[in-house]
Symmetry: C2
Subunit: 465 residues, 2 copies
């Protein structure tokens, strides 16, 4: 199991900036018990958006995903995921972590004949043009993912891909498409029905940022040979652990409470996630959306103005030590760092026994693995010297089982933190207006009023667009 | 030339959260004049660490770099850069921006026979092992970059590469190495002398984060066919512009002052850099080090404790709209966003005229380029609705000339901001102790005292490593 070590947020370790957690755990035990009980009690109620807690138990979906993956095995050289935000970041983070590094550059046999995988989660014309120039679309499976079917970015990409596939393949083009969308609503579902695409369902009552273990994430992962049964096993065991209402035994509740208290009592409102592993770098992007979009609300559940939301910050060790350590150490004491420590890397790499006659001799004959371990540990001690709080999540290995635990734990941590803040974790009320402006700027019918409003703002000369 | 638009930080645009810049520019004009005059006056003085301001005028280096690049042209399939922090991030950001997207996946002829490029700026054993498995080292030019020659990460990588090259090539291995390091000090210079590597110099009085336009950045960029003459032309024209001591005509001074005032008067101490372009994503990493390491100091130049340093935050449009817009809009008003708007992308991409009978018809027949433009504009209007300040840097195109302007402007902005904060931008006093701990943990001779200290801390049980 993954483990949480919170020694370095204790008063006895970092002095005034630390917490007396034994006392706090006692104080908050009833509250935490109530939160966890309620989450588990309400998870099947429509409208609570807690269906993500059931994604470890959806055997039917897993079965269909595996069947589909085995059906198309060896038929495609590339998987191209069209999606943005929560529709892409989970699978992007997990595939980057679980596939061999530089996957897309490996020869096919080193990929065990599984396809390369590309995520288009931006609409940069240069990037898309270049990609379309590289991949043979006839050998590419396009997985278009949007629950509503209305994401302008994803659907415009899809229109381009559909058009090109049709030119190349005629009516067979539909064999190269798999759509993951709402079970009945939206234009993508409509198109899938009309044109006969293979589809998977984005379940109701799951926010995009919580959807990684639905078909949204499982389909692309299974297509490149990732063991989704092991992922499910990881979620289940973690879900079981996190059902424990005793804060002393629930690491998600612990880290949620530590974040909440560090923010509210010690002004550490910047939550840094810092894995020491190149393969885990995109976890930060996924976590960044999870934390920001869940907790970045103006009003709490009682309608009070919050004014003081936490902000997530991405960092990757050891690289970012050379960018951020100076600020973390000497800068404003406003950050709580969550390190992810990989206890055992998949491979070992020896530093050869050369240059012993130089001052590099302390490296000769050691391993890169030991150097990595020494780096994270020296970083942690250094932060403590400067009274900067930090916790460590220990990931025994990088594999499906443990990463599923990690992702699920961070989801639960966020959900519990939201309850402590008394915030709705699962809505995103402030993104609608930007969409209206977008539609207005694109000349969409029905958005004439937004267009007029926009015109007024621009013409007042007091606004730059 | 690149341009700065600061309309959306004005009081008339965002109300109470805005600034009366006309008045502020007046008020700070003498201070800005003094800062710019001093920077230019002191740039040749040893110890001021202002030599980065001369990097546009170092014709000799540029000539040698080009000569070397043309000498090795067509000899290598891969360039492998070993470096970390400032030794890697500049060239990584610029090559990612300037090379065709997915460069390393392109066929050789689509790369005009220039090599692929890899940056190893981490020491993840899995990542390094996988890379070594992919590239043919006999056809790989290793560019090892460290001024001191003592970066444990870079030098351990180098030991591994040197050893493998030697096994493959015997004494010829040195032809596959180019070292960028101090002109005389350090173990890498010593090894280069003894073993006969081609070398370039990291100039004195240039901090790593300011070194991109020295040989540190120019060598790898030239090796993959990037036009470094155009880069130099871009720096020069920008340097000329930024010599202007009139704040009304100096965009680096303007954005520095805006950041300083927004932080000190309006509590916007999080500086978000958000390019709307997939190709510009690594600029955020480079800027993040620049801003964090330059301004993250405990003491100001008068020895007063600061306690209130700004923090940089990375974001890439349009992707991160789907992660961070909710927080930016409704969350705490603590951020100042600097957008980078690419006025004209290198290519155009049409959204085909299909699905006109659906509610996607507003996209049919438009271009992805227009959609990108509409996205950044709707984001900006939305932020203004929520009284969130933002400035926009207009980049006419993505090319060497304009990107050099952008990088140089951001360097100057940081240097000027540091003067406004009364901070030394060019040191990093708080990273040494972590290095001592690292050496202790690696058993380096001479660090026995640090090892004892560390042991004590760990054995007190009050510290987790």
């Amino acid at each position: 199991m993954i483990k949480l070590d919170y020694t370095n947020v204790l008063s006895e370790t970092i002095g005034n900036e630390g917490l007396d957690l034994a006392q706090k755990f006692n104080e908050y035990a009833p509250k935490i018990q109530e939160i966890i009980t309620n989450l588990n009690m309400n998870k099947d109620k429509p409208g609570t958006f807690l269906q993500w807690m059931n994604l470890g138990y959806n055997e039917e979906t897993v079965w269909y995903v595996k069947e589909f993956a085995s059906m198309v095995e060896n038929r495609f050289d590339n998987v191209l995921v069209l999606g943005i935000g929560g529709s892409a970041l989970g699978a992007k983070a997990l595939s980057e972590a679980l596939l061999r590094p530089y996957w897309n550059l490996l020869d096919k046999e080193k990929r065990d004949n599984f396809p390369r995988i590309f995520f288009l989660d931006n609409i940069d014309p240069d990037e898309i043009n270049s990609l379309l120039d590289i991949i043979d679309l006839r050998k590419t499976l396009v997985n278009v993912i949007t629950k509503s079917g209305s994401s302008a970015e994803t659907m415009s990409q899809f229109m381009i891909l559909k058009d090109r596939l049709y030119s190349l393949l005629g009516d067979d083009y539909r064999k190269n498409i798999v759509a993951t969308t709402d079970k009945q609503a939206g234009v993508l579902r409509q198109l899938a029905n009309e044109e006969g695409y293979k589809t998977f369902v984005v379940p109701d009552d799951v926010a995009g940022r919580y959807s990684v273990f639905s078909a949204v994430g499982l389909v692309p992962l299974a297509l490149v040979g990732i063991d989704i049964d092991e992922i499910i096993r990881g979620i289940k065991i973690m879900d079981l652990g996190l059902k424990n209402t005793d804060i002393n035994k629930n690491i998600a509740a612990q880290n949620a409470l530590i974040h909440y208290l560090m923010d509210r009592e010690k002004n550490k409102f910047i939550s840094v996630l810092m894995p020491y592993s190149a393969r885990l770098k995109y976890i930060c992007d996924w976590y960044s959306e999870l934390w920001a979009e869940s907790l970045g609300k103006k009003l709490d559940l009682s309608g009070n103005v919050i004014n003081n939301n936490p902000t997530p910050l991405k960092a990757v060790g050891v690289s970012d030590q050379h960018c951020l350590l100076q600020l973390f150490n000497e800068g404003k004491n406003d950050k709580l760092v969550t390190f992810i420590n990989v206890d055992e890397f998949s491979t070992t790499l020896d530093i050869p026994n050369i240059f012993e006659y130089t001052n590099l001799n302390y490296l000769s004959g050691k391993t890169i693995n030991r150097l990595m371990e020494a780096q994270i540990n020296s970083m942690k001690v250094s932060l403590c010297d400067y009274q900067k709080p930090n916790v460590t999540i220990h990931l025994p290995k990088i594999n499906e089982y443990y990463l599923a635990q990690l992702f699920y734990m961070l989801e639960m941590q966020t959900a519990i933190a939201a309850q402590l803040y008394n915030i709705d974790a699962f809505n995103q009320p402030a993104v609608e207006q930007a969409k209206n402006y977008l539609y207005a700027l694109m000349g969409r019918v029905g958005y004439e009023e937004s267009a007029l409003e926009l015109d007024k703002k621009i013409n007042s000369k007091a606004l730059n667009i």
